[in-house]
Symmetry: C2
Subunit: 215 residues, 2 copies
Amino acid sequence: METTKFQIPEWAFTFHGHKCPFMPIGYRMGTLALRKLGVERCKDHEMHVFSEMGVGHPQGCMQDGIMSATGATFGKGMIDKLYYGKVAATFWYPGVKGAVRIFLRNEFQDKLAPHEFFDYRKKGIEPSQIPENVCDDIINMVLTATEEELFIITEIPDFIYKPVKGSFAKAKCEICGEYVFERYLRVIDGKKVCISCAGHEPDEKVSYAPTYKKS
Amino acid sequence: METTKFQIPEWAFTFHGHKCPFMPIGYRMGTLALRKLGVERCKDHEMHVFSEMGVGHPQGCMQDGIMSATGATFGKGMIDKLYYGKVAATFWYPGVKGAVRIFLRNEFQDKLAPHEFFDYRKKGIEPSQIPENVCDDIINMVLTATEEELFIITEIPDFIYKPVKGSFAKAKCEICGEYVFERYLRVIDGKKVCISCAGHEPDEKVSYAPTYKKS
């Protein structure tokens, strides 16, 4: 019996920069999400992705795969981190009722873990420096696995998310003169200034988390 | 005299999903940063990018161009937002002294602003729905501009940044059973649990901002 092998476009590897198993896992996750929601790859600002990854752990590469498969990119503001430290993401598409959460099964994480690829990684060797056959072998494990082996899918029927309202309005900082979008203008001594010129600490960032309908 | 036209690989447009002027601006910004720092496109976890963009404003597409040109991707954890609302980014490469900040000149922002492309955008029409010749025309303005017309470059000789220390350690949440990277395990009633099962609010995210050496 021939094994079915999932196909990933070469440009997604070019974008990502190296061959690792987690970009392909994210690509498969994103592809599955599109199918579950019954939508096409996004050209503009459609699908929102809430990645459960954070900082200071491996496997974030998954997110480059998700962006490549879905078109919900960081630049377009369509993917945010929830900082839960899990290999999971929730996909929401306006107009489609509910959302879909996809988690990479513990069992598949355990299946990958003993692979030689991670011996290199744990020694601090970067993916581009790992022998190509080792990379290809672990990527093959991802590409030949079934969706059932890979993922747990949870439908979230009552998912609510209100995207931040955008504005084109901008003005020049009255100190440095650089253009600033209005949302990020601050006021110091009566002058409209940028956050850098205001000397504010970089802890004022805001994030728009999804809201689940209370039952 | 023939105008020199900057070249952007087609896959970068495929990744991004539509034709707009800001992905190409970011691509040129990233290309310039690589040259200024004297480094190649990143395969793994080398260059860090601190984008000054935030939420709720246009032109974030720039960041998809930066990622595509530099290989400093969101998935690999190499690009973060500073939420200043400016069309600017700082590029830092470990081992190279200092960093480089690149800002899109007010004058070039003013030059683009009256273009028909933005008439469509301000009516809420998404880039993929704007006539192709309109998109091509504004992209051409970006590709044929000189770097001097586009950018203000600031060298930051005393730039210091300490990347977050990573760890492969993970454990199963003692409530839901899903794997969680240790950094994101919390404790509830003596059990090691994930943030979702802990019922914590999603406001505990941390961010590692660059530190400038005090003179």
